[in-house]
């Protein structure tokens, strides 16, 4: 399967990072979500945030709990080809972090999440 997105640029400082990503309109996921009406699946955006968090952490992470995730805008690769992802990992315990992530553009926020993640 073709990649869902690509990272155009990123800046990571400690356990926080800002990622500028580009959605790939040719990803096959849009053939099924939904036929004739491409909408970026919310869960693929969650995966994108988790993968950016893994980049900041420098290793793979597991999500143990998704405390809250809100979707306020429907995203598509046509209406929102480029997005900014801001993530922050707050150490909570040995190998346990509180992850906050926001997908947006400029002043706008489209998706926010708070989760508990751990080293694998």
């Amino acid at each position: 399967m073709k990649e869902y997105y690509s990272i155009v640029s990123s800046s990571v400082e400690g356990l926080s990072g800002l990622f500028h990503v580009r959605l790939n309109p040719d990803c096959e996921v849009y053939e099924g979500h939904f036929p004739g009406t491409p909408v970026s699946p919310g869960v693929c955006n969650i995966r994108m945030v988790l993968e950016c968090a893994e980049q900041a952490a420098g290793h793979a992470l597991r999500m143990r709990k998704l405390n809250r995730c809100r979707f306020t805008t429907l995203l598509t690769p046509q209406t929102h080809p480029e997005l900014n992802i801001r993530i922050s990992l707050q150490p909570k315990d040995e190998g346990v972090y509180t992850l906050t992530g926001t997908i947006g553009k400029g002043e706008e926020e489209y998706q926010t999440l708070k989760a508990e993640v751990t080293d694998c």
Partner: protein
């Protein structure tokens, strides 16, 4: 309903079909399933990952809503996740696992459904969450 019959209930199509059986549905909820195939787009290193579990639950809720439209002779409506709350991941199922999910309708107001869900594999808890879903009229 099994396999492609599920297409009568949900608007999603491959490669992002994350429900392959509807065991039961009534006005309060539904029971669904998914056998995790090796080529599932949410499998990484042999495990069905967290976003896949969330999508499975969301599509289980879609199948529940779709069962209602199906018995009325209507096409399944597009649904979007508005909010996910208190989603706990106990375990990541391996390829070949048979997920069993129980969906309960908690509240329904003007095209917004609040559902709770619990997923098990062989009776062992895998994931549980609450979800707010918007149906497009």
């Amino acid at each position: 309903m099994k396999g492609e019959e599920i297409y009568r209930l949900i608007p999603q199509r491959p490669p992002i079909v994350m429900v392959d059986v509807l065991w039961h549905a009534d006005e309060q909820g539904a029971e669904t399933g998914l056998t995790v195939q090796a080529d599932n787009m949410f499998v990484r290193e042999g495990l069905f990952r967290e976003p896949g579990l969330i999508e499975h639950i969301a599509q289980s809720a879609a199948a529940f809503a779709g069962y209602g439209t199906y018995i009325r002779g209507e096409e399944p409506k597009l649904g979007y996740i508005g909010e996910i709350k208190d989603c706990v991941f106990h375990d990541l199922p391996a390829v070949g696992s048979e997920l069993h999910t129980v969906i309960r309708m908690v509240a329904q107001v003007q095209g917004i459904s609040l559902i709770s869900a619990a997923t098990t594999v062989n009776g062992q808890p895998v994931a549980a969450c609450q979800m707010k879903i918007f149906l497009k009229e």
